[in-house]
Subunit: 167 residues, 2 copies
């Protein structure tokens, strides 16, 4: 294997109502109505130009409070052990997170977002536009996720979140 | 801003027919029929369990041959200057790439993929399942991408790729 290290620096920080890692909705679609913000450091603000033309964006971020990496985990939505790469669980070999959020509006270096499923204070690594052409894929199989019924997923997915919102 | 650095180590390497950065199709949907592989280092193989239940997966990787970061770029698909975060261009503040590929099959630590739009030898950072529930989003606006007609996108998108495939 390679010992070569790849180093990134945060381009900003996530602000959300989620201050406990155990109570975060597990994906944006279980976090509808959860508002939050991505505060991009001023030196990168120019790079946000044209982003507000997109209704949805990817945030790539560092799971900075993830536990030590595991290769086999029980995902939040199912009590069955699964390979880490078939889940979105934080305790991965590289603690990197990916969410698709709705971009409500941009104010300078601040992105106002809906569907926030990210811990407050999380370091932001990258932002990419979500485009239907590239990212809205017809899947034929959704693995173990197809075994989780929607009611269970919704209840487990929202976890500690009891409603309300912030900006 | 934060000077805090985030360090990742490759979990594997991408193998593809694309050996020149200038000739890579720019997104998987312009790379249909382009086969390739993700070779995951053996120490992480156990984490691939259950992944082959998914027809599509996200690869997160290091644009290891990206030019110096720019905040304003002309994307491949349009001769108009755009903010880097509204594009998928490699020369980003953090040179991190994201593609959704079709997982054709898994053989041990090797993932056989279709829609390969990644340079041969690229370090792989993470793998996540693509699930319709989380990732297939109804967008209402696709920014400047909506201005690019499909014929132009298809011609520019395939770039140097002339057909043929490998595994």
């Amino acid at each position: 294997m390679s010992e070569f290290a790849i180093t990134f620096k945060p381009i900003g920080v996530i602000r959300s109502d989620h201050v406990s890692a155990q109570e975060i909705p597990i994906q944006p679609n279980y976090a509808k109505g959860c508002k939050g913000r991505a505060i991009v450091f001023l030196e990168f603000e120019e790079g946000l130009r044209d982003l507000d033309g997109f209704s949805h964006i990817y945030l790539i971020y560092h799971f900075h409070q993830a536990e030590s990496p595991k290769l086999i985990v029980k995902p939040f939505l199912q009590d069955v052990e699964r390979g880490i790469f078939s889940t979105r669980t934080p305790c991965r070999p590289n603690a990197i997170g990916l969410s698709v959020l709705e971009l409500v509006r941009r104010e300078g270096n601040v992105l106002h977002l809906d569907g926030m499923d990210i811990l407050d204070g999380t370091p932001l690594i990258d932002i990419k536009p979500y485009t239907a052409k590239f990212d809205r894929i017809e899947t034929s199989r959704n693995g173990w996720q197809d075994e989780v019924d929607e009611e269970t997923a919704r209840l487990r997915g929202r976890r500690g979140y009891r409603g309300g919102s912030s900006s």
